[in-house]
Each structure stands twice: as C-alpha cells, then as structure tokens.
Amino acid sequence: MGMPSRPTLIVRSLVAGRRSVVSSTAPRSAPADPASEALGGARLLSAYRTMVLARALDERCLALQRQGRIGFYAPHSGEEAALVGSAMAMEPDDWIFPAYRELTVALVRGTSLQSVVDQLFADAGDASKGRQMPNHFAFREQHFVSVSSPIGTQITHAVGAAMAARYRKAPVATITYFGDGATSSNDFHAGLNFAGVFRAPTIFFCQNNEWAISLPRERQTRSATLAMKAEAYGFPGVVVDGNDVGEVYRAVRAARHRAVAGEGPTLIEAQVYRLGPHSTSDDPRRYRNDQEVEAARGRDPIHRLRTELTKAGAWDDARDAALVEDLRGTIAAAIARAEATPPVDPLSLFDDVFARATPRLEAEREECAAHPAAERKSP
C-alpha cells in the first residue's frame, strides 16, 4: 500500500477473534473448523461493531461531501449486514473484486480506516495516489482489487483470478460484489458463463438493493429472482436475507467451501435495500416514495442485530452509546489527519501509465512542469 510509515487503525482489531478462529496455518484443504461455520459469540459482536462503524462513516461522509470537503460519496447504509457477513466468510488469501459500495469489506479485510479516508480525500496518503473518485478503492495487501466505475467489469476479473488460483492449485476463492443493475451487464453474462464452464472457484455476490439509480429491480429484469439466473449457467443460485448477517455469513461460507472443493461457483442474491441516495449526486425523491424507504428502515440490519444481541444479553444501550461515541472520535481523527495530509504531487500525473514512463510521457512531464500552476484556473 506504499504507506507503511503512517500509523494504521486496523479494523481487523474490531473484528476481534476472527484470526483465532480461522487459523491461517491450518491445512487449507482440510474440512473447515465447524466453529467458523456460524457467526456467534465474539465474532458476532465484532460484526456488529464493524456495521456500526460503517454506518457512522456513511453519515460522516455524506456530511463531508455536503460541506465540499470531499468530492463525492456513495453510501452503503442498509447493506452493512450483507457486506460484513460476506467479508467475514472469506479467508485472507481469498481475493475481493468489489464495486463502489464495498468500503466496509475493505475494513473487514484489515485495511486501515486511515487508508480508506485518505482515498476519499485523494491526498498524498491515498494508496491509489489520488487517481480516482471517492469510493474507488484499491488495496493490494488485502487482495481488494481496484474498483472502477463501469458497472459489472469486475465480475469477469473475479472469474479469471479464480481460474488462475485453480491453475496454481491454491485453496483460494474469489468473491465479486455487484448490484441488481449489474445483472444486466455484459460482464455478468460472460463472467457467470465462464465460471460455469471452467468451474471457477468464484462467489458472485449480488447486492440486490432494489434500485439501480432510478430503475426498480422489477424493471431491470423479469426473472422471478436474480439468484435463479445462475441456472442459465449451470450452477446454483441462492437468495439470502441480506439484513441477517448470520444468514449471509453461512451462505457465503458454504459457497466458499464449494468453490475451494472444486465444485464450482455460486451466485448469491442478498436482498437488501439502499436506504440512502444512490450517491451524493442523486435525489431519490424524484423516483421513489418515502413509505417504501420507511418500510425498509423497519428492516434495518443494524437495528436487527442490536435487538438480537441485546436480547441475548450480549449488548446494551450504554455500550452502544459508548461504541458510537468512540467510533465517531476515531473517524474524526482519521479525517483530521487526512485534511492535514498534503495533496498529491502534480507531476505524479505521469507515473503508473506504464511500469516505466515512455519517452513521450517524460517529454509531457517536462512540458507540464514548464507551465506554472499559478496560471491554472479551476474549472
């Protein structure tokens, strides 16, 4: 990630116990430790903490964008259980091929909150060197592959990487995240078909949040469910309640077993709801009504898990308030640090086009250096 000297807040610590349960030294092809097959105890609590962090980050970032402090933001509120449950089911050597709402997955994978915030600010601390809009993360160490805006393109990558892992005989699965809208993309079709034909160890994780900007799910496609599309490619598809972190975890876990056992891919449709706007550029009141959103709020995954934990005596209001307070402070500190971080170097524009700049790029770098930034006008 290129930023080793900066102190890192690793959310993995929030997901306490994860490391101890899934031993990375255990033989990978051996039957999994049954304890890892359900999310309970300390791990369920860490799942909850991560979900609360994710929600708090969403709220803070929407405000940052309104204040003009970051340029854009795509919230994930309503999708936290699906994100956390799926991410926790994957192993450290597995690879993630995310879309733009999977910030939380990066956190579960061990990416530092600071790295995430630096990306949103596109500052000199950004692992991607300020090259992309907010939410378009890339974290090499965590096998969290670079997010792009074109819908669906990561799906075939996940399949190719899975094929490569199999070629290398590594007990590795890949998971790719995408929305209901992305099921209409070319890469969905090509990716699922290749995965079926080559029995790629891939999990296709569809976040069906009912909307693709203004297009409702039922006008995106006429199939009864999105999961059933898997049959067209000769492998199973399952629908899960994406508001239930445990159910999501178990489904992804099972799919991962299938994958590394050589039984092929699985499509999982997590039924969730996008509580917020599509992004900070969107006004959802133009196309959906408040009742629908209110009804979805009633199924809020965080609320649900809090109730569950509280009923089980593992959580209470005081601890909740303290957690929220604590996380807000952590987030504020990361933001403060990002805002104190210098911007990226203008001449770094010419880096990373290729491994080594061509003569033409070096000439352009010199040309660019000759034009003082003072003459530059903002658009």
């Binding site: 809009m133 805006s149 993309s185 969107d282 010419f350 033409r360 530059r376 658009p379």
Partner: protein
C-alpha cells in the same frame, strides 16, 4: 429566442423534435422518471409518455442495439448514454453495426439513430466521468460526430442530428452544461453539419477548438490580444463531416495553427487537424503546428486541473506559435 443553459437547450431540442415527429423516441438509463442524471430529458416522460421515453435496463449494448432495431423498423430513436465513459459496452454495436449498416447493405438499411452522451472533464469526475474519446468515433467511417459549445448550437445541431438519416454521435460538454447560457431560437431551427463557427476573427494565429475548450481558447485569445497577437478562434463543432474549407481558409490567412482539445494527444483529433494542414496548407504554414491537449495518461481525479488544457497553456502555445519561424 429564449435564454437557456446548454443542458436546457438540449432538453428543448429533444422536446421540439418529439413534438414535431412521433417517430422520435428517447431511451436510456434514468431518462424517464428521473429526467436524466443531468436533467437533459426532464419533463419528456410527462409530455410524451412511457411509450416514447424508455427507462432501460443497465445495458448500453441493449440501448444501442435496440435503438438500431427501432431505426431499421422506421423510428428515429435518440439514445442517451449516461456518460461517454460508459459507451464501451455498446462499442461493438456502434462501430460494427450502426456505422456500417447502410454501407454493407448497399444502402438498403439506413440507421437513423442519434446517440447522445455527456463527455469531457472539469467536473471532478475522475477516470470514468471525464473522458473525451471522440477520436474513436471520428476514425469510424459511417458515423457523424458533432459537439456543440453553445446553447444555440446544442439545440440547433441536435435538431439536425435527429433529422439526419445517418447515425450521429452527439457529444455534450457537460462541464459547461450549466455554466454557459445564451439565446436560443425557438422552434425547429437547425444548425447544419459540416460548418465551423468563427468565434473570434484574427489574423496572426488560428486556434481550433470544440466543446468545453472553446471558452478556454477564446479566453486565451482575448488574453494575448493585449500582447499584440490577433488570434482567430474557430469552433469546429462538426468533427465529422469536418469543415475542412474553413480550417484551410483560416490557416491560409494566418499561416499558424494551434489545436486545442481535452482528449489525450496521441492519435487525438488534433492530429487529424494537424495532418490536414501539413498536407493541404503546407505552403501557407509559417510555424510548427501546436497541440494543446490532455496528456497521454488516463484521466486523473486529484490532478484534473493539471491534465486539462487551461488558459495558461493555451495562451503559451498561441504566443509560441505566433513568434516561431
């Protein structure tokens, strides 16, 4: 005449075209209920109904492919691609089908389709909400490519596009969607293809630009006037067919040329303008032909303003070109 922004002019152009011809239909992502993510199709669903304003699934392949089918049957579809950066799933349909259908069928099957897309940088959109890849389309025989830089041209060229029997790629400089306003003729007033617009006459240097670079070039030209340099600014606006006569006439007069565009330089549209001049205005040329363009990198996010040609870079090129030789 009505004072409109550029995006409003696009909207009025669509409205006008749909009012005067029931064969005109609009399709794309979020163009109906939502009125388009830039509001270019605002109000159309209400006025013309869901039969003529189609919110499609998320598939540019489907949007352009079905638009071609509609056109073959006899309609005049106007397809919106939400950002030019997202046109590539439809690229096969555009270059293999749309551009070649008339030719390959010996004229039997024309393709009366307009593909509209907001394009270009300046809105902090990063790699995928900023690109200017007009050269891909200009290099594809069988496509017309137009780019307005004023509200009047936005409406007038769009009306010509919808009336044109051939496929038209209609690129809208989203950076100036709202920042540029101007008087726009009411009704079905078309601006013809193939005719450049002289924004500002001059006799020392010719500056060729289009889209959001037209105001940048114009400002730079105005700026160097005080230094005694008279720069002529020409808005090419119709890239295919290109007004070669206007380009050649201007350089016959000035002997010097600067081409400005946002797109990457290598094999960009500026190369064609330079090549045209090096071939057919060679004996008038008094100085090297300068290109002020985006650099040969992907479009950046944080460094957008470093990447995009600005007043400073264009003015420097005009000065250098005026003084060379």
């Amino acid at each position: 005449m009505t004072e409109l922004t550029l995006v409003q002019a696009v909207n009025r152009g669509l409205q006008e075209a749909m009012r005067s011809d029931p064969d005109v239909v609009v399709l794309g992502e979020d163009v109906g209920v939502n009125g388009g993510v830039f509001r270019a199709t605002e109000g159309l669903l209400k006025e013309f109904g869901a039969d003529r304003v189609l919110d499609t699934p998320l598939s540019e392949t489907g949007i352009v492919g079905s638009a071609i089918g509609m056109a073959l049957y006899g309609l005049k579809p106007v397809a919106e691609i939400q950002f030019l950066d997202f046109i590539y799933p439809a690229f096969d349909q555009i270059v293999s089908e749309l551009a070649k259908m008339r030719y390959r069928s010996g004229g039997q099957f024309p393709c009366h389709v307009v593909v509209r897309a907001p394009y270009g940088g300046g809105i902090k959109g990063g790699l995928y909400h900023s690109q200017s890849t007009e050269a891909y389309f200009c290099h594809t025989a069988g496509l017309k490519v137009v780019i307005p830089s004023t509200p009047a041209d936005a409406k007038g060229l769009l009306l010509s596009a919808v009336a044109d029997e051939d496929p038209v790629i209609f690129l809208e400089p989203k950076r100036i969607y709202r920042s540029v306003t101007g008087e726009v003729p009411d009704g079905d007033q078309r601006v013809p293809f193939g005719v450049a617009r002289t924004v500002r006459p001059g006799h020392d240097v010719s500056v060729f630009a289009y889209g959001a670079m037209v105001p940048v070039a114009t400002e730079a030209a105005a700026g160097v006037e005080a230094e005694g340099i008279s720069a002529e600014v020409i808005d090419l606006r119709s890239l295919v067919p290109l007004d070669e006569a206007a380009v050649l006439a201007s350089v016959a007069k000035t002997g010097r040329a600067v081409v400005v565009h946002e797109a990457a330089r290598f094999c960009g549209f500026g190369a064609e303008v330079a090549a045209l001049l090096a071939e057919r205005a060679f004996f008038s040329l008094k100085a090297p032909i300068a290109r002020v363009t985006g650099y040969d990198t992907p479009f950046p996010y944080a460094l957008e303003n470093v990447y995009l040609p600005d007043n400073g870079r264009v003015a420097a090129a005009i000065r250098a070109t005026a003084q060379a030789g």
